[in-house]
């Protein structure tokens, strides 16, 4: 069928690594490509050269621009040949070179357009694919007529070529492709399976674009799908691929019309019907779609689980994998629904394919009950030794959650973890095990002592500095609280002898913590710390000196002062990034560095921006959105204004709030700067009219609805030229330390001068004018800093219940639990800690928040949400702080919000 590219040697069989491309070299092949220019073309030889060129490109060889252009021009000459095989290679070659320059494209366009109207089907199909790949908008309008014809061409290959090209073109030229919908509709009814699939792919996207662009016409979308589905479900879909696409399309509509009441799910019957399709890919697609339905009921799940269960015992690994992966996901939300498959699942533990075995194990761990734990662990132990680290990590994580689910089984699970900790493994794997043991120690009090000893044994022979220092730190916190802290000292002190400087320094800190917490150990710790004074590393010596001094008492058995404990154990409530920035900015001077001036606000700005790209300040030339360094920038800006110099330390700056509609004459937003006894409004103004110059710009603020505020300074903006943002400030005095709230109405006042656009010069005479802005509010959340804590549980316990305030609230009907949780977080303006994402389908959720309230008062909040009836959300709010008044204030915020 095919010809060898080079002459074969008769004895080639003796060569082990024979390749027709052996010793191939780019320069030589480019030379060979000159045969394309021969007046008498040799198709076979030309084909061989193209294959060599393609081989080079395929191997990652690159052509310079000159080389590529030269090859391209030469290849275009080959259109003269009538040889079909050669033409086919020419098409592939052009796509591979994918020329971009217009003048280059024009060279082939006419040849391709000729092929596009050729009588040979293969020419038409391929010319369409190539042309659409290299074309631009203008050329597309020229060939549109042919493309529309091709869509309904009686040759399925031609029709598919045009439809698939349409799907690609939709990304770049949607308005043109959308005009083809009549032809596409016709192609959907094609008798050729693949044509139907490609037409459906194009139709679906075509019809979907306008709907996703304009909100609210979902109803139409549903009707359109309804029509499509009902027209296609009557047995006219021939291709399994098309059927899969239809299922995806349907699921999307179900997702988007999620508001209809349960029991009346549209198209569920269609999905269920697809479970009886003859093609496996369709059955699976439908089963997966059902399991992913929002708020799926067990009744809806059952038929899908049944077909997936059949797949579990298939002889094809791909089917087993697909089924077990899907069931694994279902087990996260509906463990009960999957238990029927447990027997099939258990036999998969010994599957040759380790991905399948791992998925089976973790599914079983999720669905298993307390009595099956021991048996499962035995099976897993045999299995662990022959899987890769990444699978082991998955298993470890599954075991961790199992242990939290069945705390009584901690002994066998902890044993398992300590056994695998002793075996070989990479860093990520070991880290996963250590993390799991740490979590179990934290959450299961009975597991603490044995867990700590396992960790101690591990660091005796641990090659990872990071893990050793983490464990030492953890030992320092948990060790002193155990019944016999002295037994850990040996393990810790051994590190000082045997490890690198980082671990040694961590060990010194841990020793000091034992000394501080266990008074009887103090004399011994002193002896050990003194020995560390002779370490050859600065950090280790410095730490030893520091701790010897802070612990005090010269090594006698005395009580450790509270401030020392705070120093040793207190969490650093400043984000490290902020501390790093402040230290970088600090210039050595008389004044020593003060940690109290490091901003505590967590900078979440960049993330928020990414999530809401539409929220960018509108109106062109608007001030750039707040960048990560906003806090510093604001601080610098405000401290440069003498009027505000005596306001003290800036507590918080809000995100900019828009005071004008988008695309108005003047764009204004405001940033609220909160000080202890003052509030400063920074109005960022932009003039969007080229023919105007604004001068003496001020904002007149009416604070009659903000009784506790009194205006003290207004700082006008001298001039506001076109498209060059400027700021004006208004400062208010407010009662010191009090979170006063209020509403402020704003009026922009200025002198407007006409500008001659040609010269850019303004007239001398101006007119006074006003422009109404929207109201702004100072709310309680403005007095709250988002400050996270590293370990909420510890912080909560050490805060104590002395000033705790607990109350319950009904939040009324809400769209979802997640929506209610977010609303409360926004209202309080606090930092969510640990896992605060609300799982789908859940009926209750606990959310942990932390923050600093004005007056530097640490506040911790524990929110428990529950669904009360179908939509009503109830909330229990527990607040802890160091001051009852602060705890009450938080409740007031919620009560009045």
């Amino acid at each position: 069928m095919a010809q060898p590219l080079v002459k074969k040697d008769d004895d080639r069989d003796d060569e082990v690594d024979y390749s027709p491309f052996m010793g191939i070299e780019k320069g030589a092949v480019l030379q060979e490509a000159r045969v394309f220019n021969d007046p008498q073309l040799d198709p076979r030889r030309c084909s061989q050269v193209i294959t060599k060129l393609l081989y080079l490109l395929n191997q990652g060889e690159t052509f310079t621009k000159v080389e590529a252009t030269e090859v391209f021009f030469a290849v275009t000459k080959l259109f003269q040949s009538k040889d079909i095989g050669l033409r086919r290679m020419v098409y592939v070659m052009i796509k591979e070179l994918s020329p971009s320059a217009d003048e280059v494209v024009i060279i082939v366009t006419s040849s391709l357009m000729k092929d596009m109207t050729s009588k040979t089907d293969m020419y038409r199909a391929n010319a369409i694919r190539v042309l659409c790949r290299i074309t631009d908008g203008t050329l597309l309008t020229q060939i549109e007529r042919y493309l529309k014809q091709a869509i309904v061409d009686k040759n399925p290959v031609v029709a598919s070529a045009a439809l698939v090209s349409g799907i690609h073109l939709l990304q770049t030229n949607p308005e043109i492709v959308k005009r083809w919908s009549n032809e596409v509709q016709e192609a959907v009814q094609s008798r050729a399976a693949l044509v139907q699939f490609h037409a459906l792919g194009l139709l679906h996207q075509e019809s979907h674009i306008p709907f996703s662009e304009s909100f609210g016409i979902r109803q139409n979308d549903r009707l359109a799908v309804n029509k499509l589905v009902s027209s296609l479900t009557k047995g006219s879909v021939r291709s399994p691929l098309a059927q899969c696409l239809l299922i995806r399309y349907t699921s999307q509509v179900i997702r988007e019309s999620a508001n209809t009441q349960a029991g009346d799910r549209p198209f569920y019957d269609f999905l269920e019907g697809c479970l009886r399709h003859k093609a496996e890919m369709v059955i699976f697609e439908a089963a997966r779609a059902i399991t992913e339905l929002n708020g799926v009921t067990s009744r809806e799940l059952t038929p899908a689980i049944t077909v997936l269960q059949l797949f579990l015992s298939s002889s094809k690994p791909v089917l087993r994998f697909a089924a077990v992966r899907t069931l694994n996901k279902v087990a996260m939300t509906h463990p009960m629904a999957v238990t029927n498959c447990n027997i099939d699942m258990e036999s998969l533990i010994s599957d040759q394919n380790r991905s399948i075995a791992t998925l089976a194990i973790t599914t079983l761990l999720k669905t298993g009950n307390e009595s099956s734990v021991d048996r499962l662990m035995k099976q897993i132990t045999n299995f662990m030794s022959d899987i890769a680290d990444e699978f082991k990590i998955v298993v470890v994580e599954a075991i961790r959650s199992l242990c939290l689910k069945f705390p009584l089984k901690y002994r066998s699970l902890m044993n398992f973890l300590s056994n695998i900790l002793r075996e070989e493994g990479g860093f990520e794997y070991k880290k996963a095990i250590v993390d799991s043991i740490v979590i179990l120690i934290r959450d299961i009090p009975e597991a603490k002592e044995s867990g700590l000893l396992h960790l101690c044994e591990f660091i005796e022979d641990c090659e990872f500095t990071y893990l050793s220092s983490q464990i030492l730190h953890f030992l320092g916190i948990e060790g002193p609280k155990t019944s016999d802290p002295s037994k850990y000292i040996r393990y810790i002190y051994n590190r000082v002898h045997l490890e690198n400087a980082t671990v040694r320094a961590a060990a010194v800190s841990t020793l000091a913590k034992f000394g501080a917490m266990v008074d009887t150990l103090k004399p011994r710790i002193f002896v050990l710390l003194r020995r560390c004074l002779f370490d050859n590393d600065d950090e280790v010596r410095d730490r030893a000196t520091l701790y010897l001094n802070t612990l005090g008492g010269d090594g006698a058995v005395v009580q450790t002062g509270e401030d020392v404990k705070e120093f040793l154990f207190g969490s650093l409530d400043i984000p490290l990034v902020n501390l790093e920035n402040s230290l970088k900015n600090y210039e050595p001077s008389e004044e020593s560095f003060d940690i109290n001036y490091v901003p505590k606000e967590i900078k979440t700005q960049p993330l928020a921006e990414k999530k809401a790209p539409g929220k960018k300040p509108t109106g062109f030339g608007a001030p750039p959105a707040a960048s990560p360094s906003t806090v510093d920038a604001y601080e610098r800006l405000l401290s440069s204004i003498p009027e505000f110099a005596n306001f003290g330390k800036l507590f918080k700056s809000s995100a900019p709030v828009e005071l004008t509609e988008a695309e108005t004459e003047y764009a204004v937003n405001v940033v609220k700067h909160i000080f202890d006894g003052h509030v400063v409004f920074q109005y960022n103004c932009t003039n969007t009219i080229p023919e105007q110059l604004l001068e003496n710009v001020t904002v007149v603020v009416d604070a009659s609805e903000a009784e506790e505020f009194a205006e003290v300074v207004s700082k006008p903006l001298r001039s506001l030229p076109y498209d060059s943002p400027g700021q004006t400030f208004v400062a208010f005095e407010k009662p010191e330390g009090i979170p006063a709230v209020g509403k402020f109405s704003n009026m922009l006042r200025f002198i407007v001068k006409e500008v001659d656009p040609s010269t850019g010069e303004a007239e001398d005479y101006g007119v006074e004018d006003e422009y109404q802005l929207e109201e702004l509010e100072v709310v309680a959340a403005d007095y709250m800093l988002k400050v996270g804590v590293s370990n909420f549980r510890n912080a909560w316990e050490s805060m104590g219940a002395d000033c705790e305030r607990v109350d319950e609230y009904g939040l009324g009907p809400r769209e979802s639990l997640a929506e209610a949780v977010n609303a409360v977080i926004d209202l309080l303006g606090m930092q969510p800690c640990e896992a605060s994402v609300v799982p789908n389908n859940s009926r209750s959720h606990t959310c942990l928040l932390s923050g600093v309230y004005i007056g530097n008062a640490k506040v911790l909040v524990r929110l428990q949400f529950g669904l009360d009836g179908p939509k009503d959300v109830a909330m229990k709010l527990a607040v802890r702080s160091e001051d009852e008044a602060v705890s009450d204030a938080i409740h007031e915020i919620v009560a009045s919000g």
Binding site: V92, M122, L170, Q171
Partner: protein
């Protein structure tokens, strides 16, 4: 586009993990070194498995990879983590069987390299820019085969059909063996 089943790449490597013929349809691997790194990972992760009877499957770095080996050749098809595994497998099977038909049952690295032009055409007929064009091996091989004919060629319709029939027969035999 995001709802259409998408193929990220099709790879044909040899038994040492070297590239024989590959085609990438996704921007996930913008440079040749990124592609090579991916091929190396795929190869090492699947090397020790036996994928000579049924197609095998694995998942890593948010990709699902289905694969099948024959002689000194390793066939791979990659999709995104949410892609329907069975669709990927049908593309793999289409490619695998089409190569078998084209090479008339003798599928090994040397044979592939000697007919590399046909392998490139074959890849071109299976997927276009990530979208599945055809998964039926007979149709794919038929399209590739028809191209090696000259215009107004001496080969009649009859011979081509015969050639394909022999090839199919050989393939079935090798599959049953």
């Amino acid at each position: 586009m995001e709802l259409c089943p998408l193929i990220k790449n099709i790879l044909l490597l040899d038994s040492e993990g070297n590239r024989v013929a590959v085609k990438y349809y996704s921007d996930d691997w913008p440079t040749n070194s990124a592609k090579e790194a991916f091929e190396k990972t795929v190869f090492t992760k699947t090397q020790k498995t036996s994928a000579r009877n049924e197609a095998e499957i694995t998942m890593f770095d948010n990709y699902v990879v289905v694969y099948k080996f024959v002689q000194d050749l390793h066939f791979f098809v990659t999709g995104g983590e949410n892609e329907n595994e069975i669709i990927l497998a049908s593309v793999l099977q289409g490619f695998f069987d089409a190569v078998g038909l084209i090479l008339r049952g003798t599928v090994d690295k040397r044979e592939v390299l000697e007919n590399l032009d046909l392998i490139f055409l074959c890849l071109d007929e299976i997927v276009d820019g990530g979208i599945v064009l055809e998964t039926d091996a007979n149709v794919i091989a038929g399209k590739v085969a028809s191209h090696s004919m000259d215009d107004g060629a001496s080969l009649s319709e009859q011979t081509i059909t015969q050639a394909l029939a022999t090839a199919r027969e050989r393939l079935t035999r090798s599959l049953l063996a």
